[in-house]
Amino acid sequence: MNRILWIARNSLALKVILSTVILSLGVVWITGSALNSRLSSGIREVNLNSAIVEARSTIFTADYRFLLAQGEDDAVVQKVVDDVISSATTITLNENTREVVFIRSPSNSMDMNYEVASNYLDPASIPKSLSERVRKSEDTVWQYTTMTYMQGVSVPGLAIGQKVQIPNAGQYEMYIVFSLANEEKTLNLINTYLLIAGFILLVLITLITWVVLRQVVRPVREAARIATEFTSGDFRKRMKVTSQDEISRLGFAFNEMAQSLEQQIARLENLSRVQQRFVSDVSHELRTPLTTLRMASEVISDSREGFDPIVARSTELLVAQLDRFERLLEDLLEVSRFDAEVAVLEAVDFDLVQLVNRCVEDLVLVAKERKTQIYVKSVEPAIMIKADIRRVERILRNLFANAIDHAEETQIDVNIVASDRDVAVGVRDYGIGLDEAALTRVFDRFWRADPSRARTRGGTGLGLSIALEDARLHNGELEVWGRPGRGAHFVVTLPRKTWDSIDQRLISLQPEDYKA
């Protein structure tokens, strides 16, 4: 049942067919009933009219014959009564049976009794109410009844009665009773035919609906199928358009949409290709002269002993700025790779703890210069993960360098936590911290927390934004917490296997040591 409901909810065709069947059932039922009642009342009326005419003439004839027998003796009267009965009664019991009943009026106190009913019909078949009406009326009176025979048979019938005067016997009620078995049979037959016709109609309506639906639903289904293929990246599929009707217009509109989409996507793909190409070209064109510059500056720098102080310092600046220029170029290229969505993950297995320690070791001197120290704490001595080591290293270096820049001579705590599925590295400093506005912008490109603050390490202003992109490329997350004067806490969470998603945050962003 649930399954049927499910299908009904999910299939337009079934839904339409079901409602069509239910509605047609109602229509067929109402029409059938109306037709049936009209037909039966029509048939009954015709039968009734002819029965009344027949009964009247029979009773009139009987009455006339009784009038003629006025003054005759009882035997003759009896003969007349018998004659009347036998001429008005059918011999055998069949659908057209007609019976005659004489009932003595209660007011009649004469001795002679002609009360009789033909063919063993039970006189009780004449309803009391009809008798009363006959007694009061001078005309014929009728009523539907059930004809019951002494043998136990009973059929529906119509009783028509009138008062008659039987010579020497006073007032009687004479009834002609018609069997309605035939009429009943006809009505039953009509009923049966109506039911059959109704059923056939219902089946036909269902079939027609189905055929019509197929014409409408098939293109809709096709459109849905093609739309699905579109979603999965196949943009070449089109709907077949063969005529000019609404469905074909749907197909036509769909195809136009498909074509426009395909063109848009092709345009975007082309843009992306152009961008990628541009990045590659810029990379080549800038790197070659930069290489020459770097080598030239190194050659000059190697012999700076003999230079006068101004030239020597200039040489130092030249070398340092070339370094910075190169870093900036690298970062810009990386950012444009992310923008063009051509950054690829090259995953290898490695020990995260070892990588963290190596990055920290490389920064020991810088940290010392800034009067800070990095402490590393790990839940396990080694944590193997599969990730792009170059990117993870870049995330860590950026976070550590950022912490050193903002630690303000406080210590830096690095915390490594791992679960079966994820790893997280928290980098906590207790320096100048970040305010609300800064928290929302800290990953923005080229954003500086305080424009008046010098960038001492010659950072490019792209480090944290690249770190965020690197983390997201791993389906990981890089988040930040900070309060002015209370330091900052950066937490990077990565799945241990490439392409997994992160399960849970292993390190709470708000540091445990912080009490608001």
Binding site: T291, T292, R294, E298
Partner: protein
């Protein structure tokens, strides 16, 4: 004197490379077009080739294949692109090492060149065996059942490094420092590509290596075969 052929279409960079190398006591042959390389190469065979990837005439990858077809000379590719595909393409074409422009320091370039030119494993004497191969380190020869197998110097060094310590499992980082002379490099593509190339030359079935065996998640080791 050592001769290095520098192939780069950028005149200024080529000249600068010339200055730096000459300063380090290395002779330099400058070539600026890819399609001129082979003539110069045949006339005056260098000890090492520094080869740019993007070259007019014939690109660096093709040039690399041409050189490899007739010589085992060390080749160091110079690439302006750090993208994996280019690096791997260069290595697969037969380059031993690559450097991405711009180099951190000219000294880094010179160090790389010296590593490639150094007679590594000069301390190892006599014959080594690995699998069913016999290695004559001094003569720089690999023999299988008396027949010589031609390897580049780098492939030779890689094989010798593994054969020297048959029981040891080498991590990729260890091989990078042992064979390429890198310290703290994380570029394991170099090792992977060269191991593939080496296998294609020495294994009976490169799909089921028996001489250079992968130790999953760690690195490589020398295979033990036929009780050797």
């Amino acid at each position: 004197m050592t001769l290095v052929m520098v192939v780069d279409d950028d005149q200024d960079l080529a000249e600068m490379l010339g200055i730096v190398l000459t300063g380090a006591g290395i002779d330099v042959d400058l070539v600026s077009r890819g399609d001129e390389v082979m003539d110069v190469f045949r006339n005056n065979p260098p000890d090492l080739v520094l080869l740019d990837v993007m070259l007019p005439g014939l690109d660096g990858i093709e040039v690399c294949k041409l050189i490899r077809a007739e010589s085992m000379v060390p080749i160091v590719m110079l690439s302006a692109k750090g993208d994996t595909q280019d690096v791997v393409k260069g290595l697969e074409a037969g380059a031993d090492d690559y450097m991405v422009k711009p180099f951190r320091h000219p000294s880094e370039l010179i160090a790389r060149i010296r590593t490639r030119l150094r007679r590594t494993n000069a301390d190892v004497l006599g014959l080594l065996t690995i699998g069913d191969l016999a290695i004559d380190v001094q003569a720089h020869q690999i023999l299988r059942a008396g027949k010589q197998i031609a390897l580049t110097r780098l492939e030779f060094d890689l094989l010798v490094a593994l054969a020297k310590e048959p029981g040891r499992v080498f991590t990729r980082d260890a091989l990078l420092s042992e064979v390429w002379g890198y310290r703290h490099s994380t570029d394991t593509r170099l090792v992977n590509v060269h191991v593939q190339r080496l296998r294609s030359k020495i294994e009976h079935d490169a799909e089921h290596p028996e001489i250079v065996i992968t130790v999953r998640g760690v690195g490589y080791k020398a295979g033990v075969m036929g009780g050797s």
